[in-house]
Amino acid sequence: MPPSFATCPFCGLLCDDLVVTPGPAGLLAAGGACERARVEFSALGAASPSPRVRGRAAGLDEALDEAARLLGAARRPAIGGLDVDVGAMRAILPLAQRLGAVIDHSGSFAKYRNLHVVQESGLITTTFAEVRNRADVVVLVGDGWTKRFPRFVERMLVPAPVFAGDGGRRFVLLNPADRSALPADAECLELAVPMAELPVLAGTLAALAAGRPVSLDRAVTALGGSASDGLAERLARCVDWLREARYGVLVWSAADLEFPHAELAVQALARMLRVLNEKTRFAGLPLAGVDGDLTANAVQTWRAGLPLPASYANGTVDFDPHRHALPGRLARGECDLLLWVSNLGTKPVPVVDGVPTIVLGRADRTFDAAPDVYLPVATPGVDAPGHLLRGDKVITLFLKPVRSGSLPTAAAMIEALAARLEPATC
């Protein structure tokens, strides 16, 4: 009998070739598992948590009662985290509506760097299998993706592009990328300028790709280079490669773009893609899907018609990345309760003085400051079935549990919570 493969929920690649078995210390992930997957499965395997009320172990009913009491008393609750699967999100949204909550994903600030560009200019994009089979020129921005998407190179960039003709695949590394992540024999052009200069670099490439008269000398100076370091020649060569590509792909991960107004740099690159597509094919691949960011946004978007961050206050739904962003709402002291739901990851829960916090979290999570209520929930793909959107946005995969656990799902927990609330009055 062939091994039953597991699908890894811990990054946007959703690799479905893992073999996960019970080991002496937790779950043992093998098969295609990367280091990150091994660590995550192992950590989850070891934990056997119980609900907690203000740090003290409590029965499920007691913890649910307390959580329901806090929720019932809240007038301005916020729902955060959302590092969750589709099922959890489907349960969270009716609750958010019922509570009039403001709701935001923990990574939406990074996510918004791409959404911004879609909403304010549009985008040409592609998906993993197109990259794998077609891409003859791959431009990689930044290097965070090598950590966040550990098997991206192995799975998408190492296999030969069968539809690309005989030329093989060439790489351009924008910003200080990790050359060693790529195959050693890969033809590779490095434009190693600091990440903060990406807006200038992106604008320069977009202008050059459009055939506009940009002074390479001035560009090099603006990028902090010098006449002798060959940057001007590499810029020119890069543009040649972009224009010669039969099917080029530009890869970035919005979470890497940790500088203010990074969405503008993405927009410059989006413009470059538009220009290149007048003559050849060149598509973007905004790598995402970590921590359920795409999933949470997609479910919110299809149910409400508007993405995150959103407010369900006053019986309406409103999208405003500025006013409804959770960090801002918390910092301004506007929320009187924080419900944090995260069944996939273990990002820290914000602690705000005087704001009661309920956490529906992974079994192995720990806290610097104990929340008022902690309700451990099953992790989809480990203890429970679930669905997640993959990092290229189009594919949703089923997460089959690798063990039969006793933890309730986040969705079930939310429904239990909702059942304890007073009937909605509106």
Partner: protein, 271 residues
């Protein structure tokens, strides 16, 4: 001073949408009726009378005093009358303005005058980020009217601006006039980084040399253009600092860009 006067006396627990407080809507109502108007907060509605001392007479002039930044969208979509705001106005003041005059005798929050189409907003103090821009997710920013900030503006002022006039006496943050589509910005202070990023058309007059000039703007030499003279002359009424700019002779150093976009914008720098 004539008109209606609201003076904040209680801070709401969360931001309140103040867009119902328009002179054109309140005009002619009794003070009691005005006190009963409910403003939407977060899951609760606050009566004007609970939050404000209400006095005077509801004419086409409304003054709101003691603002503390917790009211958003004041003057949004106003078409007529005068709204005077004192203290710290919140975000989205004058959003989508269609004709009224808003005077802020204090400072404004973010998204001041975003999407405004007509009318005039004048701020004595500073304005936050995205002044004269557009609502998040939409293609166009401010598309008409005059937005005058005597103090500084934050980042991304005039982002996606399509028409109209943004005048700033102080400094501007990063990405002034980013993605500008058309319209006019005049900045007397200094622009921080990346002014004009991805601007497609439009005019930005800078009375001081910006921190840096993007390599995707090309020098067009010194140009003394009639259109710019005409433009600056038209600002004579906006104060002596603008008159002085209009009176200076010899044109400007002109830069064209952003070549990463369609490249037909102009940055005009005093020399």
């Amino acid at each position: 001073m004539s008109g209606l006067r609201l003076s904040l006396r209680a801070r709401p627990p969360a931001r309140v949408d103040g867009s119902a407080l328009l002179p054109e809507k309140l005009q002619g109502q009794t003070l009691d009726a005005i006190r009963r108007i409910a403003l939407p907060g977060w899951n609760e509605f606050h009566e004007v009378g609970e939050l404000f001392e209400v006095s005077g007479e509801a004419t086409d002039r409304l003054q709101i005093d003691q603002l503390d930044g917790s009211f958003d969208r004041l003057g949004a979509l106003a078409t007529a009358g005068t709204l005077v705001l004192r203290g710290q106005a919140g975000d989205l003041v004058g959003e989508g303005l269609r004709g009224a005059s808003i005077e802020i005798e204090g400072a404004a929050g973010d998204y001041l005058g975003c999407g405004m189409r007509r009318g005039r907003i004048e701020v004595r103090g500073n304005a936050g980020h995205f002044a004269g821009s557009g609502r998040a997710g939409e293609l166009q920013g401010m598309s008409g009217g005059t937005l005058l900030v005597r103090g500084d503006v934050g980042d991304r002022a005039a982002d996606r601006m399509r028409r109209g006039l943004l005048l700033v006496e102080g400094d501007a943050g990063d990405y002034l006039a980013s993605r500008m589509l058309a319209g006019t910005v005049v900045l007397l202070g200094r622009a921080a980084g990346n002014a004009g990023y991805l601007m497609r058309r439009g005019t930005v007059v800078l009375d001081q040399r910006p921190a840096q000039m993007l390599p995707t703007f090309n020098a067009n030499g010194r140009q003394d253009l009639l259109a710019i003279q005409l433009l600056l002359r038209s600002l004579g009424g906006e104060g002596p600092r603008f008159s002085r700019l209009a009176a200076r002779a010899g044109g400007f150093e002109r830069w064209l860009g952003d070549l990463a976009a369609s490249g037909q914008g102009e940055l005009l720098v005093s020399f």
